[in-house]
Amino acid sequence: MLHFGDNAYDLVGAFWTTIQLTFLSAIGALILGTLLAAMRLSPVPMLTWIGTTYVNVVRNTPLTLILLFCSFGLAQTLQITLVDRNSPTSIEDSNFRLAVLGLSVYTAAFVCETVRSGVNTVPLGQAEAARSLGMTFSQNLRIVLLPQAFRSVLIPLGSVLIALTKNTTIASAIGVAEAALLMKTMVENQADLLLISGIFAAGFVILTLPMGLLFGWLGKRWAVAR
């Protein structure tokens, strides 16, 4: 609890929501992004086309719009709320899950492009050799290409993760009680704007700086020696 005059704010709780949003969306984006990359690399023209269209559409749509679409389009119009409508916390849960969905869908486009660039670092001869050994496309991808691709793009993937962490603040637009929403609340009540912004900026630096360092270190440690 953070005390400001008579008011107490659950700073840790808000940042915990930010961390949960980031973590779950990162997993979602990694899975979906890798699938999309596989589609874009696949020899089936239809899959390639779907992957390419997805990336171009989603990557160029503002995140706020995607999240508002999740809330108004999916939940309100199409009734896809992802929760039991009668539960006593349905709004809160629905918003959180829709935010994870929106953030995953958005970030997946960037993960896809990052992974694809990693695949491009693997010498073409390896893919050809694998194919001549009789490996199918998916075996080639799973056993030869992706393991090397991921190792070579750890550092840019770290950047995508940091961007995702900061993007979670947009979830406050559909009412997820994460750090940015608490900041709005505090700005409404308190007079010390600079101090409040400083606290939240520091909070995000504390979250993202270690991520950058960790991925930098991992990237070096697991670099593919060629």
Binding site: F72, T77, P88, I91, S172, E188, N189, A191, L193
Partner: protein, 279 residues
């Protein structure tokens, strides 16, 4: 060659220092260009909301309408500025204090509640309107009649982090609260049936009800007290007195009631007695 090293280091240091100085100076000089004045010369810059029907709304044709706008126009007239000398500046809730402190506006009339925290940063003239938190429901709704009827798992909507949203969370824990960035989004959710009611100051709700008559109604009276004032630069006593006189005059000569009826009458709420200005 050892003698070459010191000069090399110095020039390198100098280059870094120069780069840092440039990096600091460039945004500062740009900021200096961007700083507006609070309406020097023969025009006046007034801050208001651009997206609040019935209070401060910028119409598609560029004209301004609403109760706040009418009050601001009257005050400007009393200060000696005709309507065509007013330059309107959009003042979203989170930016109002900053706009005043940076002299980007002369004064702000934008559903601006007088609170102690805000008084630390700006001065207030008025109040020119006393309202309170209320509920907006669909016209055919009968089970929400007031704050007491909210408890059994009703779904409410308000703006993220706003005072009404906080009050609902603190006082009515049985209520589920949906927060959006704007009231328009909340009203949309109410229309879609995703929430049972929208809550905030009664006059704001009345503005939305007046915008689409017959769709919504304001129910339950008020369960808080908000005093709307005109925000101005801290310490500008001269301006504060002039604005207070203008508000008093507006309340006395009937223009105040006329403005209220014109902008918020269609919502079905009657004009309250104008508040007494705090001198």
């Amino acid at each position: 060659m050892p003698s070459a090293r010191p000069s090399h280091t110095t020039s390198r240091r100098f280059r870094i220092a120069a780069a840092v100085a440039l990096a600091v100076a460039l945004p500062l000089s740009l900021a200096a260009c961007g700083g507006g004045s609070g309406g020097g010369g023969d025009t006046i810059v007034i801050g208001t909301k651009f997206d609040q029907p019935g209070l401060g709304l910028k119409n598609p044709d560029g004209t301004m309408s609403g109760f706040d706008v009418d009050v601001a126009k009257y005050v400007a007239k009393e200060l000696g500025y005709a309507e065509d000398k007013i330059e309107w500046k959009e003042s979203p809730s989170g930016q109002r204090e900053t706009l005043i402190q940076n002299d980007q506006v002369k004064f702000i009339a934008a559903t601006y509640s007088i609170t102690d925290a805000r008084k630390e940063k700006v001065d207030f003239a008025g109040p020119y309107l006393i309202t309170g938190q209320s509920l907006l429901v669909k016209a055919d709704n009968t089970d929400i009649t007031g704050a007491e009827s909210l408890q059994n798992n009703k779904k409410l909507c308000s703006v993220s982090g706003s005072t009404p949203a906080q009050r609902i969370k603190d006082k009515y824990p049985g209520v589920q609260l949906q927060q959006y960035d704007t009231y328009s989004a909340c009203v949309e959710a109410l229309k879609n049936g995703a929430v049972d009611a929208v809550t905030t100051d009664e006059v704001i709700l009345a503005g939305y009800a007046a915008q689409s008559p017959g769709t919504f109604k304001v129910v339950g009276g008020t369960f808080s007290e908000e005093k709307y004032g005109i925000g101005l630069k801290k310490g500008d006593t001269d301006l504060k007195i002039k604005i207070n006189d203008a508000i008093t005059k507006m309340e006395k000569d009937g223009a105040w009631k006329a403005a209220f009826d014109k902008n918020l009458g269609p919502a079905g709420i009657t004009a309250p007695t104008p508040p007494t200005v705090d001198k």
